[in-house]
């Protein structure tokens, strides 16, 4: 029995691929230029970025993740992910297609794979997510002491909370109901009461930075390709 794949399944798989830095799906950012699947299971995805010089390591992660997400789908026999209009497109496209890893794709120009970079970005996502979850609580009157004592299970459900828990889990940090809401994204240790205000200030700043970067990237992409934002 064969399964037919349609474009919408591929697109929804791509919706799970994030810009590692901006922590947003590449579909929502407008980075997926096209996505086609033939009747015999050949998937071809074209990606585009806000500039010709976007950092090659971030670009590599997105192309590689897109490749993995699409090639995993039942019924996809062959996957091609092509990054368009980028100075390192050849090295990235060829490297991902050959499953070469980053170091071999950029022979002589890189000394390690990108796992550490990904972890750094996940930590930033946890900090930004902490602001998203805590700001409404603080606005509703929660004190630093309340927040320091709060567990994840005690926070009212929200998409922001789900996302924070997922990012913590991806980092290998505990994310169950009984775990503290505020933790150091590096060690996983709970934040002591005295350190709560500074932790929240840092969380807010990290979120501001992410949002500002996303804003600039979206604006540049719109200018480059004339696309409307989603």
């Amino acid at each position: 029995m064969t399964t037919t794949v349609d474009g919408s399944r591929v697109l929804s798989a791509l919706g799970e691929v994030r810009d590692p830095e901006l922590d947003e799906p590449i579909t929502a950012l407008g980075f997926v230029a096209s996505c086609d699947v033939s009747a015999d299971g050949h998937a071809e995805v074209h990606l585009r970025l806000p500039t010709y010089f976007c950092a090659p390591n971030f670009a590599y992660l997105m192309v590689a993740d897109a490749y993995d997400a699409v090639s995993m789908l039942d019924g996809v026999r062959h996957t091609e992910v092509v990054l368009d209009d980028h100075f390192a497109a050849d090295a990235i496209n060829g490297g991902v297609a050959a499953r070469a890893g980053f170091v071999r794709s950029f022979a002589g120009e890189a000394v390690g794979e990108l796992d550490n970079l990904r972890v750094d970005f996940l930590r930033k996502a946890v900090m930004a997510g902490t602001d998203q979850v805590c700001r409404p609580l603080a606005d509703a009157g929660a004190s630093p002491a309340d927040l320091a004592a709060m567990t994840l299970g005690a926070v009212p459900p929200s998409p922001a909370l789900d996302r924070l828990r997922r990012r913590r889990a991806e980092l290998g940090l505990a994310a169950g109901d009984d775990e503290p809401l505020l933790v150091d994204p590096r060690s996983g240790a709970p934040i002591g009461l005295d350190a709560v205000p500074l932790h929240l200030r840092k969380a807010r700043l990290t979120r501001t930075s992410l949002d500002a970067n996303t804003g600039i990237c979206r604006g540049m992409l719109r200018h480059r390709y004339g696309v409307e934002e989603t």
């Binding site: 500039t51 010089f53 950092a55 100075f87 120009e109 970067n213």
Partner: protein, 356 residues
């Protein structure tokens, strides 16, 4: 000079360019990079008000008359600081060299300050060239671009021992202001090219120098702020922040400004238009009119007329020793432009440690 509502602002554009990115200046074989670079800059211009956008032809190579009109006649700028960007692997005569800038500056005495640059990969020859440029052009500042490509290398960091030699040379030569710009590629490529920790090291080891981090370390504003708050000699260059966010993303602009005012402080933030990416006119006028949009920003530092005067010109004037006519100076009690101790610090008794 800009006047509004009875207030007079002395404007120093501390980060601007005079480039030639037209096809006649592209290095054969590197055309795609030369073209990609200027197209990337042009996309940034798309974040400005539509009536200030330029066609690509003008954007690739604007004239002396364009610059003088846009920056001085219309743009309210009193003194403009040239920041060179070489990129000689892609542009035959360089994108925007010290020499090109200085030649224009020489025709308009008093209008420009000509910064130069260095690259630690240039070794002993580069040190000689640096001394020569300081002698010829009186440079008191340098612009460093750590992501510049050179003979297969895709960049460098301020932690390099070779870079320390140049920083020592800067101190000896009387250069006081180090403008640093991070770009998207640096060797090795797997590292975070935008990492600002090398500036932290250099700022600690060279306390006499001022480090002005252009576009506030974007996209690493948070890392920049955590550093700047602990290093008294680290300043926030607002190029790209005002140009790229104030019009296109006003709400994010307010949040970024609020964070910068909190972590870095109004004495350590400097306006730069990044001309020819963006014209200064709308930036200066818009910033003078600007305030936080709404109550949700109530826990950020307030923005006063004095704040704006410092950011638009008085801070940079202090860093460069530019004489400011008395009618533009602050009244007593309005603070000290360029003061190094404005950062909030992150100790437990600093304002950052309380939820105000």
């Amino acid at each position: 000079m800009y006047s509004k509502d009875g207030e007079r602002y002395f404007v120093v554009d501390s980060h601007m360019h005079y480039w030639n990115a037209a096809p006649d200046n592209w290095v054969p074989g590197a055309e795609q990079y030369a073209k990609g670079w200027i197209e990337c800059f042009h996309a940034y211009q798309g974040l400005a008000p539509a009536e200030t956008h330029w066609p690509m032809e003008k954007f690739q190579k604007y004239s002396e008359d364009d610059l003088m009109k846009d920056v001085f006649t219309d743009g309210h700028v009193d003194v403009a600081i040239f920041q060179p960007t070489y990129l000689t692997e892609w542009y035959k005569e360089g994108f925007n060299t010290t020499e090109r800038n200085a030649a224009l500056g020489a025709k308009h005495p008093g209008k420009f300050i000509t910064n130069t640059r260095w690259d630690p990969r240039d070794g002993e020859d580069g040190l000689k060239k640096l001394a020569e440029n300081v002698e010829r052009f009186g440079s008191k500042g340098v612009k460093l671009y750590t992501a510049e490509w050179r003979e297969g290398s895709r960049g460098w960091t301020l932690k390099d021992p070779a870079a320390y030699k140049y920083l020592e040379a800067c101190q000896e030569l009387g250069i006081v202001n180090i403008h640093v710009h991070k770009g998207p590629t640096i060797w090795p490529l797997d590292k975070d090219a935008f990492d600002v920790s090398d500036i932290d090291h250099a700022a600690t080891d060279f306390p006499e120098l001022n480090f002005i981090v252009e576009h506030v370390g974007l996209p690493r504003i948070e890392d920049f702020c955590f550093m700047a708050t602990q290093e008294p000699n680290v300043y926030a260059g607002l190029s790209v922040v005002i140009g790229g966010l104030m019009h296109a993303r006003p709400k994010f602009f307010a949040r970024v400004m609020g964070e910068l005012l909190f972590w870095v402080g109004e004495d350590k933030m400097t306006f730069g238009s990044d001309y020819g990416i963006w014209e200064p006119k709308w930036q200066v006028e818009g910033f003078v009119d600007w305030d936080y949009p709404g109550d949700e920003f109530s826990d950020f530092p307030r923005v006063t007329t004095a704040t704006k005067k410092k950011i638009l010109g008085l801070n940079a004037a202090k860093l460069y020793g530019i004489e400011v006519p008395v009618e533009f100076q602050l009244d007593a009690g309005e603070g000290t432009p360029g003061a190094r101790d404005d950062a909030v610090g992150v100790s437990s008794d600093s304002p950052a440690a309380t939820l105000a």
